[in-house]
């Protein structure tokens, strides 16, 4: 176990600028744009407005100041920008919408997302993309522990590092990590695929490096491009996945349980 003791230094490896190399443009002139200020409008009213049937257009949510449950349960092909940091479960269970968070996100961003895009310009806390079934989650900075836990089909691209127990029990989908991974990456992984550019601190039970065949390079290339990292060389990445030894209980693997 380590100790990090500092008196006047800052831990520079943790600093992630939010102005990274996203090439994603945002147009604010197309269609109607509605702004909500969470200092004056209740979260319940904002979410209710975003649940209106046949919702269209663009929306901006200002002054979130770390509020929880912002923009949860949207089910419309709209664009939502959250201007600031959010707390837990931002864009939870998102369907169809493109949600951008201009800041950091707390625990469970885009949890159980079904489709659409959630884009975090800063860092994400624990359990980013937890149990999500579809769509694309981009985290430009770092993600903390349990990134992609129990993922069920979502694509997650992390610009920086991920914390420990990422892709724990990951059933389906793809997790791309441009930085390093913490301990126990892919512990008890099912059929999800992990593409890691940096080093894993350790691999979890049944998670092994696998061969990168042409179809994997193509898949990875598409994901990186969608996330604004088209310049990455896919050959710098290693693929990880399930060794499939835990699919049927075998007493000889009992220590993995």
């Amino acid at each position: 176990m380590d100790t990090v003791t500092s008196s006047s230094e800052t831990s520079s490896s943790r600093e992630r600028s939010s102005d990274t190399n996203s090439s994603r443009e945002r147009s604010s002139e197309t269609g109607t744009s509605t702004t909500f200020d969470l200092r004056t409008v209740s979260l319940r009213d904002v979410n209710a407005a975003l649940h209106a049937p046949d919702l269209e257009g663009e929306f901006v949510i200002e002054c979130p100041a770390g509020a929880h449950n912002v923009a949860v349960g949207i089910d419309a092909p709209v664009k939502v920008t959250v201007d600031g940091h959010v707390g837990y479960y931002a864009a939870g269970m998102n369907q169809q919408a493109d949600v951008t968070i201009e800041g950091n996100a707390g625990t469970g961003v885009a949890e159980n997302m079904m489709s659409g895009t959630v884009w975090v310009k800063g860092n994400a806390s624990q359990s980013a993309g937890a149990t999500a079934h579809g769509g694309l989650l981009v985290i430009e900075g770092n993600a903390a522990a349990r990134c992609g836990i129990s993922m069920k089909g979502v694509d997650i691209v992390v610009g920086g590092d991920v914390g420990h127990m990422s892709a724990f029990m990951a059933q389906a989908g793809r997790l791309v990590i441009r930085g390093a991974a913490g301990d126990a990456l892919g512990d008890s992984i099912y059929e999800a695929r992990i593409y890691l550019r940096g080093e894993p601190a350790s691999l979890g039970a049944d998670c092994v490096p696998k061969e990168m065949r042409p179809e994997h390079h193509q898949e990875l290339g598409r994901l990186l491009k969608a996330a604004g990292f088209a310049d990455d060389d896919t050959r710098d990445y290693t693929r990880y996945g399930s060794a499939r030894k835990l699919y049927h209980f075998d007493v000889d693997h009992a220590s993995s349980y």
């Binding site: 990090v4 800052t10 831990s11 100041a65 770390g66 624990q126 770092n142």
Partner: protein, 298 residues
Amino acid sequence: MCGIVGLHLRNPQLYPRLGELLTGMLCEMSNRGSDSAGVAVYGDPVWTPPGRGCVSLHEAEGDAESIGTAVASALGASVDVTELGDTRLLTADVDSEALLAAAKAARPGALIAGFGADLAVLKGVGDPATLTRSWGLAGARGWQGVGHTRMATESAVTPSGAHPYAVGPEQCLVHNGSFANHATIRRELRAAGVQFDSENDTEVGARFVATRLAAGRDVETALKELCATFDGFYTLLVSNRDSFAVVRDAIACKPAVIAETADWVAMGSEYRALSGLPGVERAAIWEPEPEVVYAWTR
């Protein structure tokens, strides 16, 4: 279950704002629990004048004057008593340990919320906004503060169950999460002569750390030993007069965020607690790794 916050100021120009900033941090965390709250403030020159021993008492019988008289008599020196909410803050021109002994002798039934030079520990039952107003926390100054809001389970919410636990000189501990094997550790500590104020699991952690520190270990070693000994999910913040340390358990499910600038280091259960700090837009923000002790000293 709870919210915890901590602020360690590096820039003396911010010392006058410690109370104001700590109040904001604490009240942001009220949603995580609002049955009781507590804060520890290091260095307020009015509450805890420099050079004087300090003891924070809770549930002490009698009014400020009678408490002061009784303690002074046990001490053999004059004692000032400040009323802050339900807390009785004692100061005297003696060592804190001596003042502590006198306070215990004069008011054996009272709770020692904290003791040590420059340290005031205020606790109470109720929601953080009301409590901080009753203490006048927004006007407090100093170099370091720690706070805790609690979601209690007992119907009779008691101050003895509230954090911070300040069980060694100038030491404070706040805790979010729950230990799983503290009952046994409490028995072992009791057998070694340690006395407990409550049945609270946090108190076991606090007294464990205090015994290690009293035995000469540094705070990093004490916290490493805690991680090796205690099961459970926990984020801990331990403060001393000049230092501030954060550690999480190996599984690290309970939330914790640390932010650092040249002017301050802060920790909170959620980012929201830090969002009002000056310069937070430029801060390095990260989540502590499991079983890594992060410590800062003045």
